[in-house]
């Protein structure tokens, strides 16, 4: 076992982690611990753009962006946070440009912008061009640019280090425990400040745009240490995943003029969202697609998908603006998007909920108190700027605005505080977990439990939910957690034991899936990405509040989830019925 000492530790090297690292490295002795090489992070898979009211191509302002974000989130957004997001968006985009990001350009050389779902002019009048983009690989360019600037700033990385525990001593942050994949060695990182930026947890669904590695590690570690998870029932299903595979096809395809069609060739979104049509918010479009499928207007022999039609767009436009996603269609489906529509279905995409933070990125231990020295940013966190449904292009924005804020705040905290003493035998929990898994002779396989988890989540906790389906999900997950106690791995070695790593990741997914299902069961209303067929309306009287889920361990060792609620911060916008 090795012990390291850094003032600031950042967990995760996607967009939020590296944006935080650039700030923290300038201000404190910083290290980034990441289970993947930084450029492998899933920020790189984001395509369509990053929202900011630059007004480069038409009139726009941050107040309109704030309103759209709050409405898009079905009024579960904390309005003070949304205002910060929209205001700081402008400098965030300009900062990235100055760091070297190769945005697409307007004829006069400024950053070009395009339309995206839910982003409107003057509070919903019509779609506005607000998404700053680099072809259909904006996330790739953000990830590369941030890594390039980490190289420039000399950021210190520990690559393929997997953080398995958070050390808190008498309520204050003391550091983290990590497992080095190459050697199997345990490392203690003592730190004054820790920033979690480890991404989402979409891999508990089967059809998902998420990477294999998006297993909610940060959320699970925090939850096990008694910290709450906020609004985990709100999960975004992106309307256009490649049929069966779930690979993301950007909303920018519809921003460029692409149209969704059912088996009759009808542009069905006109019936669901007369103004914004195909560019309504993602929850609205995903429900519309499944309604078409359920009512028998789906495409293909099984009627289980609809089409994304780009055939009316000039090939030059597709080549210039959507080269990657058209190549995905060719590679994975053998379809030529110039001439044929692309079969799509909604795909599990984004975790709106997460570790609760305030606008400085400080992690909350309850509705009001922070954990001194602990920060979170990006998809792992819930500020909450996305509320019940995130707008497209607001996640690349979120990681930059709140990644930067968390990095600055963490380093400032480190500069003014002493190290907290490490708790006694800080590695014990991790050693026990890892060795139990390594030495287990149980009969259960990781892959079988994971597949069963993904199947119950797809069937019972996806776009449409009811009390019955969610109860089924809770029961299934409980059974799978029992089976997980008997899970074993075949690889007993120390070197690059990815078999063991997958077992740990599955444990995280099971814990978080349970939080999602329990939180969703209790929310007897429909709001944003959480749709209850047995409670189809939004209920502001009883549910205009954030869910706060806590892990509770009884005196007899039994573990349960306790739900509490936190008020939504409202400033200037009164809730209205949401129409697009």
């Amino acid at each position: 076992m090795q012990i390291h000492k850094y003032e600031t530790i950042i967990v995760g090297a996607g967009g939020a982690g590296m944006r935080a690292a650039i700030e923290a490295t300038k201000r404190s002795r910083t290290a980034v611990l990441t289970k993947l090489y930084p450029t492998r992070s899933h920020t790189g898979a984001a395509q369509g753009g990053m929202a900011a009211a630059l007004a480069n191509v038409e009139e726009d302002n941050w107040e309109w962006h704030t309103f759209d974000t709050i409405k898009g989130g079905d009024y579960l957004v904390d309005q003070d946070a949304a205002e910060i997001l929209a205001k700081e968006a402008i400098d965030s985009v300009l900062d990235l440009e100055k760091m070297g990001l190769p945005f697409n350009r307007t004829p006069d050389g400024t950053i070009d912008q395009r339309r995206f779902g839910g982003h409107t002019r003057n509070h919903g009048e019509a779609a506005v061009r607000r998404s700053c983009y680099a072809s259909d690989r904006t996330g790739h360019m953000i990830l590369q640019t941030l890594y390039q600037n980490c190289v420039k700033e000399g950021v210190e990385f520990f690559n393929e280090f997997y953080v398995l525990d958070l050390l808190i001593n008498e309520g204050r942050t003391a550091g983290v425990v990590a497992y080095e994949l190459a050697t199997g060695e345990i490392h203690i990182f003592q730190a004054k400040a820790v920033v979690f930026a480890s991404g989402g947890c979409g891999k508990f669904f089967k059809v998902t745009s998420n990477a294999h590695t998006l297993t909610g590690d940060g959320q699970a570690v925090a939850f096990r240490r008694g910290l709450p998870l906020e609004d985990m029932e709100f999960f975004q299903f992106h309307p256009t995943g490649i049929w069966r595979m779930g690979i993301l096809l950007t909303e920018g395809a519809r921003g460029e003029g692409g149209i969704l069609r059912n088996k009759d060739g009808e542009r069905f979104m006109e019936r669901y969202a007369p103004v914004m049509k195909d560019l309504a918010s993602r929850d609205v479009v995903s429900r519309a697609i499944y309604t078409e499928i359920r009512e028998g207007r789906g495409c293909g022999p099984d009627g289980d998908h609809v089409y994304l039609d780009l055939t009316h767009l000039p090939p030059e436009q597709l080549d210039a603006k959507l080269p990657d996603i058209t190549e995905f269609a060719r590679t994975y489906l053998g379809i030529e998007p110039y001439t044929d529509p692309i079969p799509i279905q909604p795909t599990a995409h984004y975790t709106m909920g997460g570790i609760p933070t305030n606008v400085e990125g400080e992690v909350l231990s309850n509705n009001t108190d922070v954990v001194p020295g602990l920060y979170a940013a990006g998809e792992v966190a819930c500020v909450s700027v996305h509320g019940a449904n995130r707008l497209g292009t607001n996640s690349l924005l979120d990681i930059n605005v709140f990644g930067r804020r968390a990095g600055i705040a963490a380093a400032a905290y480190a500069a003014t505080h002493e190290y907290v003493e490490l708790p006694e035998s800080p590695e014990s929990e991790v050693v026990r977990m890892v060795e139990d898994l390594r030495q287990s002779t149980g009969s259960e396989r990781v892959s079988e439990i994971r597949t069963a988890l993904q199947e119950t989540m797809d069937v019972n906790a996806m776009v449409f939910r009811t009390e019955a389906t969610l109860k089924q999900a809770v029961a299934d997950i409980a059974e799978l957690k029992e089976r997980y106690k008997r899970v074993s791995v075949q690889d007993k070695g120390r070197r690059y034991n990815t078999d063991l790593l997958e077992a740990v990741e599955l444990g995280n997914l099971l814990d978080l899936a349970e939080v999602l299902a329990v939180s969703a069961l209790a929310r007897k209303e429909s709001r944003g990405g959480h749709y209850r067929e047995d409670h189809p309306n939004r209920d502001d009287v009883n549910f205009m509040r954030h869910t706060m889920a806590y892990r509770e361990e009884g005196a007899d060792g039994t573990v349960s989830i306790r739900l509490d609620y936190k008020p939504v911060v409202q400033t200037r916008y009164q809730p209205m019925e949401r129409k697009y």
């Binding site: 450029t39 492998r40 990477a211 590695t213 690059y496």
Partner: protein, 256 residues
């Protein structure tokens, strides 16, 4: 070199979708685990797959249903994160962008680690020398003078000039396909030069001269023998050899 054969267990998971025609394939993987043996060995796995699935899916099927010790890197599974470059039927490719039907499933599909980097376990290689070469070319925007308040202006034409090399995902498929890199561990390799190109030809950048001096050194761009392996290997379709030639030309003319 020994050849072991592992059969698929009888209780393998059922097919994911009903309308799929599965075919029997053999995946022949170059296995190496120094914890077990100092020698590497080919191991055959017989599995059933939908030909429209990826080689990565086949590797997962082996790992998840037959042998959990099989080790490889992967993340996004659709060709954007750059984790799973490997040598498939003798060619560098991403396992997640290679469909089984596109590589003749009638014969055993061979899967080996990429060449020129130290193999650590099975398909996992030491990426550190690769990233060090990348870092050595100063892969970041270098500017002088005061920062503008708004964005730096760049014409669409100037932006287009380096578009191709911005696509790089640092998967190392190009560098580890380069015979010069195999024989000379000091050569920067195509990926590092591609990433230098991305900045040298960016109209906003003022570090071109510094980068060219680095690439002008003994182990720099002149080692390239224009074999086009790198261009063939690039899963992002970057014209790698052309980019290297443009850097060479810039070194001679000092115009870029």
């Amino acid at each position: 070199m020994s050849t072991a054969t592992v059969d698929q267990p009888a209780d393998a998971a059922p097919a994911a979708a009903p309308s799929v025609d599965r075919i029997a394939i053999t995946v022949r993987v170059r296995r190496f685990n120094p914890e077990v043996s100092a020698e590497s060995a080919w191991v055959d796995y017989q599995i059933e797959m939908d030909p429209k699935e990826r080689v990565l899916d086949a590797l997962h099927k082996i790992k998840w249903e037959i042998d959990g010790t099989l080790t490889f890197r992967r993340s996004c599974a659709h060709g954007i994160c750059g984790s799973d470059a490997m040598r498939i039927n003798g060619r560098n490719r991403l396992a997640c962008k290679t469909l089984i039907k596109d590589i003749n499933p009638d014969k055993p599909i061979t899967v080996e680690p990429i060449k020129g980097l130290t193999v650590l376990k099975d398909l996992v290689v030491d990426m550190e020398p690769f990233f060090q070469a990348y870092r050595d070319v100063m892969p970041f925007l270098i500017t002088t003078g005061n920062e503008p308040t708004r964005e730096r202006r760049q014409s669409a034409k100037d932006r287009e000039r380096f578009d191709d090399t911005t696509k790089c995902i640092l998967c190392a498929a190009c560098t580890s396909s380069c015979p010069v890199f195999w024989n000379d561990g000091q050569y920067f390799g195509p990926a590092a030069i591609v990433n230098a190109h991305r900045f040298i030809f960016d109209s906003r950048d003022e570090g071109g001269e510094q980068r060219l001096e680095i690439l002008n050194e003994q182990e720099g761009v002149w080692r390239c023998r224009t074999t086009f392996n790198c261009t063939d290997a690039c899963p992002r379709g970057i014209e790698v050899t052309k980019a290297i030639q443009e850097v060479k030309r810039a070194l001679i003319t000092r115009r870029f």
